[in-house]
């Protein structure tokens, strides 16, 4: 039997949304190249004004026209604003020695747009800009070897606070996944540093316990996966460093990975049983 004879309804919304997203990315890439290659020919002021006007036009379109591609016009507007703010700061140094604060400005602008339009893609740009600001901003407190880890922890804490204050349920997942991953990256960076190895291991274990508890309470398996995988990496780093002997180290890695697979599998089975019981 031919397929067409039996399919009365063929949803292609996902494919069309992907096409719209691709269009946005092509435009943003093109604009990025224009700014990079032609700013001396066109003139920085003209470029800054043109990109700003294009971004405003995108937002205006999203405000006044109920279109199927409204979300993508908002995303394009946000990407153009990012490009424009970065370009303006690189040309005129409006923030002087505090140039890295333009990321904070972008985080605020994107967050405002994300909440106004209810757009998760733009919120992810805001979170990324915030993470960039925390990744660059320098203070005395961050002058130690654990610089990256502290900045990651503070960034994760800010994201969790934002998550608590957030009133748009659709955005919660993004905050939770971003905060969890950033916190674990910070903890692992401490673990990989020989001088803070054990502190990093302990912090990873604490975060893993938190992620595990949250995953079990909210019945979200991915947080259990985060706990399992990140703590496996931390334990492996500490133990392999302690063993030294390559044969024993490879044997240990084999056993620890199998144990992690078995533990995660058992957790998955438990989750599936609970889901079935709920159903």
């Amino acid at each position: 039997m031919l397929v067409g004879e039996r399919r009365d309804i063929v949803p292609i919304g996902t494919e069309l949304r992907s096409l719209a997203w691709l269009g946005v990315m092509l435009i943003a890439t093109g604009v990025g190249i224009v700014i990079t290659k032609h700013f001396d020919q066109i003139g920085p002021l003209t470029i800054a004004m043109a990109v700003a006007l294009a971004a405003i036009a995108c937002y205006a379109f999203a405000v006044w026209k109920q279109s199927s591609v409204r979300d993508y016009m908002v995303l394009l507007g946000a990407l153009l604003i990012s490009a424009d703010v970065g370009f303006i700061e690189s040309q005129w140094h409006l923030l002087g020695s505090e140039w890295q604060r333009h990321f904070l400005l972008l985080a605020v602008l994107h967050a405002a747009a994300a909440y106004y339009f209810g757009n998760r893609a733009v919120l992810s740009l805001s979170v990324a800009a915030l993470a960039s600001w925390f990744g660059i901003e320098k203070h005395e407190i961050f002058s130690s070897n654990a610089d990256f880890a502290f900045r990651a922890f503070i960034c994760a804490a800010v994201l969790l606070t934002w998550r608590v204050a957030n009133r748009k349920a659709d955005f919660n997942g993004l905050f939770e996944h971003s905060a969890t991953n950033i916190a674990f990256w910070g903890a692992l960076s401490l673990t990989f540093d020989p001088s803070t190895k054990y502190t990093g291991f302990l912090v990873t274990a604490i975060f893993a316990a938190g992620s595990l508890t949250y995953g079990l309470k909210s019945r979200r398996e991915l947080f259990l996966m985060y706990a399992g995988v990140y703590s496996l990496i931390a334990i492996d780093v500490v133990v392999v460093d302690w063993i030294h002997e390559p044969i024993l180290a490879s044997f240990y890695l084999l056993i620890s990975t199998i144990a992690a697979i078995a533990a995660l599998f058992a957790t998955h089975v438990r989750f599936q049983k609970e889901r079935l019981a709920d159903a």
């Binding site: 031919l2 397929v3 067409g4 063929v10 949803p11 292609i12 919304g13 494919e15 069309l16 949304r17 096409l19 719209a20 691709l22 269009g23 990315m25 092509l26 435009i27 093109g30 604009v31 190249i33 224009v34 290659k37 591609v69 993508y72 990407l79 490009a83 970065g86 370009f87 700061e89 690189s90 040309q91 140094h93 890295q100 990321f103 972008l106 985080a107 998760r120 919120l123 990324a128 800009a129 993470a131 960039s132 925390f134 990744g135 660059i136 990256f148 990651a152 996944h177 950033i182 990256w185 398996e221 991915l222 996966m225 044969i247 490879s250 890695l253 990975t257 199998i258 697979i261 998955h268």
Partner: protein, 325 residues
Amino acid sequence: MSDFKKNAWPTPEEERAKTWRHMSLIVQIVFFVLTIIALSALYGFITLLSLPAGWIVAPASIVVAELLIRRSRFWRTGVESALWIGGLFAFIFSLPSSGKVEAILVFAAAAALAGWRVRNALFGSAAVTLVVAYVAAKGWHWLALLLAIGVALIALAGLAREWQRPSTEMLWQFLILVMPIAGYVAVALRLESWTTDMRIAAIFVGLAALFTIVGVHMRLRVPLMTAVLCLAIAIVEAHDLNPVSVESALIVIGAVTLASAAAIMRSLRGKETGFVLGVAKKSELQDVMSVAPTLMPGHAAEGSGAPQPVGGGGEFGGAGASGNF
């Protein structure tokens, strides 16, 4: 014992109903990666003991995979697929290297065998892609393109029919999507400098038209996606005919793509049969993917302007504005 033999594969009904032990895509990826790490550790351990690693890892991993499939009904967990493909590849890696291009065919055979056993469309497509790569590596670039197009057309014919197993349908879908790209890369590699060949552009325009007609007529999504892909390849191939700069072309093509998507969405609004918009599904995978921009380096205000007072980009994070300006 009879159960062991009977449980080699799930029945088509079981495969459709997903009654065997299976995982979501993201969990499958996690288990696949962890299993490959475990296999690598085993390979390293046996090598350090000066034993023939390939001869031990391959049978051991395949036996474990078969036990998991037949006894515990593992199917789409990521573990059994990793054990099959990892075991076979470990065996190939342990063989003495001759440096001949025929080695590609050995990897293709391994991917095909693993793909057949666990009915994995990705492995099956990888096997065919490796065969196309082999033909191209032999210097027969046009033959490689013809082979890829031939496979894509066979897959199109296959997809037009109803199949009992979703995995078979998935294989046809993967092949239709992958083969035009593999064929184009194979034929593009024949030239030292990248110049437009209108014959190739015309072939891909023709393919785009064919896939569109079949997709619309048969109400199939994947051929429509492939049609867009073929059109994109034709545009890329015709780059020498582009009257404007690359950046202008990107902006124009992006705007046309966005406008086309908007127009099609508008035309489908309110439709209840045939091609419809459908409801966007929210998955946790989207949230995980949303973390990706945070991994990109943030350099938005660095670069061609005057040196910045504080050097270096961020160690993590990006603002969607990365670039050297």
